[in-house]
Symmetry: C2
Subunit: 495 residues, 2 copies
C-alpha cells in the first residue's frame, strides 16, 4: 500500500472544478445528514508533516460549526496513561447527525507505542483486535466511518521537516517524535502497512497522496461525500448479532437460587467489620499498584443495592472511588452509541468505580420496553463481552453482581416503602409497572447471565432476601478478587 504507492499527475483546472463541485455537495449534505441523524467519524492518519491538519482545515471549512468537531488525541507515554487504549477514541464519537474529525487516532497510538517498545507485541496484537471490535461496534451502531492515511515518502518528509525547522516561527513544530519517526521511516512504513492490513477487512483504508495537497483534499472530499451519500441512500445500518467465543463461567438460572440463606446478627457485625477493614487495606494497595476496579450492581427493585453499595463504599477512601448511579440516558447520551456514556464514566487507574446499574440496561429494560431494536440487544451480549474484555485487558478488575430477591420479598419491601413516609420517595409507579413484568424480566436476566458471565468479568448472583447476608457475600467476593489482583500482578506483568 505504501511501498508501491503510485502518484498520479493531473490537470489543475479539472482538479479545481472537481473540488468546487465536491465542496458544494458537502455543504448540501449537512442538512440531510442531520435529518437522517447519521453520525460520521473521519479518521485522518498519516506521516508526521504529511499535512493532516491542513487537510482537516479544508474539510471543515464549508461545514457549519454546529455539525462537526475536531479531536486531536494526545498520545502520551504509555506508563502515564490513566485510561484504557480506546478511551480517547470512544469518548470522541459524535452525536447522531454530526461529524468528528480525528487528527490521528487509534492507528498512531498503537503503532507508535509498539515501535517505542512501550507495549509488548502481545499487547499490540490485543489493541489491533480492540480496534477491529471498536470499528465493528461503530458500524453496527449506524456510524459512518471513513479511514484515511495521508502518505508522503521519506524524501518529501525530510524536505517538509527541514522547511519547518529552518524557520524560527515554525521550528517548534518539529518534535523529537517527528525526527525519530523520520529516522525510523522504514520500520514505521512496515508497521503502518501491516496495521492497515490487519484492520482493513471490515472498513477499508484509503491512502491519499500527501504530496499533492489539493489532490488529497479533493480525494478526501470525494470519499466523504460518497460515504455520506451511500449512508443517506441506504438508511441507517443496523448490525446483525454475531458469534464470538469467550471463556465462560457457568451460571445457574435464577429459579435455582437458594434465597433462604441468612446470617445471624452477631456474625454479621463481626464479619462486616473484618471485611471492611480488609477492604480498606486493599484499597491502599490497589491505589499504589494503579489497578482500576469496576464493580457493577444490577438487581430487582428494592433488592437492597443501595444499602449494599454503602457498606462497600464506607471503608474506601473518598479520594479513590466513585459511585456512578446510572439513570435514563440524557439526550446527548441517547444520541450516541449506547456504550459511550459508560466509557466516559470509567475510573482512572488505581481508582474504584461502583456502577449502580450499568450497560446491562441494554439487554433488560431497553430490550423489554422496546427502546432499542431486537438486533441491537441481541448484538449487545457480545459487544458487552468485548467491552469488558477491553477493560480487563487494560488490567481492570471487573465484578458484576445480580442482587436477587423473590417477588414476595419485593412486595413486602414495596409495601413497607409505601407505608413509611420517609421511604415513599424510593417507590414510584414505574417500580410497580416493572414488577408486573417480573416473568419477562426473569427471562431476560437469565439470558444475560448465561451470555455475559465471562471468566474475566464474571457475574455473581447475590441472595438478598436477607440483606445482611447479601452484604457479607458481596464484600467477601470483592475482597477475594482484589487480593488475587494484588497478588497476580507479577504473573500478569510477565505474560
Amino acid at each position: 500500500m505504501l511501498k508501491d504507492f503510485e502518484r498520479k499527475t493531473e490537470d489543475k483546472d479539472v482538479l479545481k472544478a472537481e473540488t468546487k463541485a465536491l465542496r458544494e455537495q458537502l455543504t448540501a449534505q449537512q442538512q440531510l445528514l442531520m435529518e437522517a441523524k447519521l453520525p460520521v467519524i473521519v479518521l485522518i492518519e498519516g506521516w508526521a508533516a504529511a499535512g493532516k491538519g491542513s487537510l482537516i482545515k479544508e474539510l471543515i471549512s464549508e461545514i457549519d460549526p454546529r455539525f462537526y468537531s475536531v479531536v486531536s488525541p494526545v498520545i502520551g507515554p504509555e506508563k502515564e496513561e490513566r485510561y484504557p487504549f480506546l478511551y480517547p477514541f470512544f469518548s470522541a464519537i459524535p452525536e447522531n447527525g454530526k461529524i468528528t474529525f480525528l487528527d490521528s487516532g487509534w492507528m498512531e497510538s498503537a503503532v507508535r507505542k509498539f515501535l517505542r517498545h512501550e507495549i509488548t507485541r502481545k499487547e499490540y496484537q490485543r489493541r489491533i483486535r480492540q480496534v477491529n471490535e471498536f470499528e465493528r461496534q461503530l458500524r453496527d451502531g449506524g456510524y459512518l466511518v471513513l479511514k484515511i492515511f495521508l502518505h508522503i515518502d521519506k524524501k518529501e518528509q525530510f524536505e517538509r521537516l527541514r522547511n519547518l525547522a529552518e524557520h524560527p516561527e515554525t521550528e517548534w513544530r518539529v518534535t523529537d517524535e517527528d525526527i525519530w519517526q523520520h529516522k525510523e521511516y522504514k520500520r514505521f512504513q512496515d508497521t503502518y502497512e501491516a496495521f492497515m492490513e490487519d484492520t482493513g477487512d471490515l472498513l477499508p483504508w484509503h491512502v491519499l497522496d500527501g504530496k499533492n495537497r489539493k489532490g488529497a483534499v479533493r480525494d478526501a472530499m470525494a470519499l466523504l461525500t460518497g460515504q455520506i451519500q451511500e449512508g443517506l441512500d441506504a438508511g441507517r445500518y443496523v448490525g446483525e448479532p454475531f458469534d464470538e467465543e469467550f471463556p465462560m463461567k457457568e451460571m445457574p438460572h435464577l429459579s435455582e437460587v437458594d434465597l433462604s440463606l441468612t446470617i445471624e446478627d452477631d456474625e454479621y457485625k463481626k464479619e462486616l467489620k473484618k471485611l471492611q477493614k480488609r477492604l480498606s487495606e486493599l484499597h491502599n494497595i490497589i491505589y499504589r499498584k494503579k489497578i482500576p476496579v469496576i464493580l457493577c450492581y444490577e438487581g430487582w427493585d428494592a433488592a437492597g443495592k443501595g444499602g449494599n453499595i454503602r457498606r462497600v463504599a464506607y471503608p474506601l477512601d473518598p479520594r479513590g472511588f466513585d459511585v456512578r448511579p446510572i439513570a435514563s440516558p440524557l439526550p446527548h447520551e441517547l444520541n450516541r452509541q449506547y456504550l459511550w456514556r459508560f466509557w466516559t464514566r470509567l475510573p482512572r487507574t488505581g481508582h474504584i468505580c461502583i456502577f449502580d446499574r450499568t450497560w446491562y440496561g441494554r439487554v433488560m429494560v431497553e430490550r423489554l420496553e422496546g427502546f432499542c431494536g431486537e438486533k441491537d440487544w441481541q448484538r449487545a451480549y457480545n459487544e458487552i463481552n468485548e467491552f469488558e474484555r477491553q477493560l480487563t485487558d487494560w488490567g481492570a478488575v471487573v465484578i458484576k453482581f445480580w442482587i436477587h430477591i423473590d417477588p414476595e420479598t419485593q412486595l413486602a419491601r414495596f409495601t413497607d416503602r409505601q407505608n413509611t413516609p420517609e421511604k415513599q420517595w424510593k417507590i414510584t409507579d414505574e417500580d410497580w409497572r416493572n414488577r408486573e413484568k417480573w416473568p419477562q424480566y426473569e427471562v431476560a436476566v437469565d439470558e444475560m447471565l448465561q451470555k455475559t458471565s465471562t471468566k474475566n468479568a464474571p457475574w455473581y448472583i447475590i441472595e438478598s432476601n436477607d440483606k445482611k447476608y447479601a452484604r457479607i457475600r458481596t464484600l467477601k467476593i470483592i475482597v477475594k478478587a482484589l487480593e488475587e489482583a494484588c497478588e497476580n500482578r507479577f504473573e500478569e506483568m510477565m505474560d
Copy 2:
C-alpha cells in the same frame, strides 16, 4: 481563629447519641433536598493529615450515592495549569438537589501557590477577590455553601505524619508537600487565618477540632443538617442585583449604528487573504505563548454569524481552536448555575475558542422569555463582568461581537432562506417569533452593551448588512487584539 483555638472536652455517650440523631436527620433530609431542588456545596479545607478524607467518609456514609459526589481537585504547579484558577471548582458544582463534597478546594489552591511563590501577592489578592465573587454567585444562584476548616496543631500534625511515615503501607501517603507544610506550619497558619478573614464576610468559615475525630464528625453533621434545614425552611434564595464598578468602554445605541457601510469585492478578497494570513501567523504565536483566546459571537438571526465565524476559523490550525455552538441548555446544565456550561467549555491556554452564542443568552432570550427571574437577569450583568474579568485576569483575550443588521435585511434573508430549498433548515418558526419581538430585543441588547462592555472584555458592534464588510471588520479587530496581546506580555508579566 487558629492560633487561639480552644479544644472542648466532652462526654462520649452524649457525643455518640448526638451523632446518631444527626445521622438520622441527614438521611431524612435527602429526599426533602431533592424535592426542594436545593444544591449544596460542602468545602472541607484544613491541615495535611487533619482527617479531611475520613470526615468526608463519615458524612457520605448515610447518603444515597445518587445525591452526592466527592471531588478532590488536583493542585498542580501553577505553570502547568491550563485553565483559570476557579475552573476546577466551578466545574465541580452540583446539580439542584445534590451535594458536592470538596476535599480541599479554593483555599488550599490559592494559599499553597502563594506560599510556594508560584503566584505573586497581587495575583493572590486577585484570587481572594475571585473567591468572594464565586461564593456570592453561588449563594445568589440558590446554592447552600458550607465552609469547614479542620484544624490540628503542629504537634498533632507531627504525630500523625510520623505515624503514617513509620508504616510501610502508609508511608507513601506522606508527601513532600505535607512535610513542607509542617516545616512552614507558622506561615501556613497565618495565611490560612488571613484567608478566612478575607473570605468570611458573606459565608462564614467553621473551624472544627480535627484532633477530636468523632466530635468533628458530629460538628460537621450539625452544620450541614442545620444549613440544609435553614435552606428548606427559607426556600431557594435569589440574590439581589448589586453594584460594582468596572472600567467601561463607551458604546453607541444600536439605532445609531451606520448600517450602510460596504466593501468592494476586490478590496474584500485582497483584505480577506491578507488578514487570514496574518491571523494564521498570530495563531502560532498565541499557541507558543500559551495565551488563551475567547471570541464571542452574538447577533440577530440571519445576521451572518456562521459565515463570519467560518472566515475567522479557516486560517486557524484545527488542533488549536474550537467552535462551541451554544444551543438551549440540556437538563443537567439547566440544573446548575447558568455560567457552569460555559466554564466547562473554556479553552485551554494557547487555544482559541469561538462561542457561537454565549452566556449573554441570560440577559436576552432568558430575560425576554421569562426563563429566569427578573433579579436573575438583572444580577447577571455584573456576574458576567466578574466572570470575564476572571478570564482576562487569567491572561485570556476576550472579544465580543454583536453582529448587527436592520429588520429589513433580516426579512430579506429570512425570505431567501424560506425560498431556497438547501437553506430552509436554517429558518424555523422560532426565528419568525423572535423577529416579532425585535423592539424588546433591541432594548435588551442596548442595555447589555451598555452594562457589559468593559475595557478588558469589550463589545464591538459589527455592521453586517454587508456580510463581507462585517467579516473584514471582525478579522481586523481580532488581528489587532492578538497583536497587542502578543506584544504586551512583557508589561503584563512585570505587572
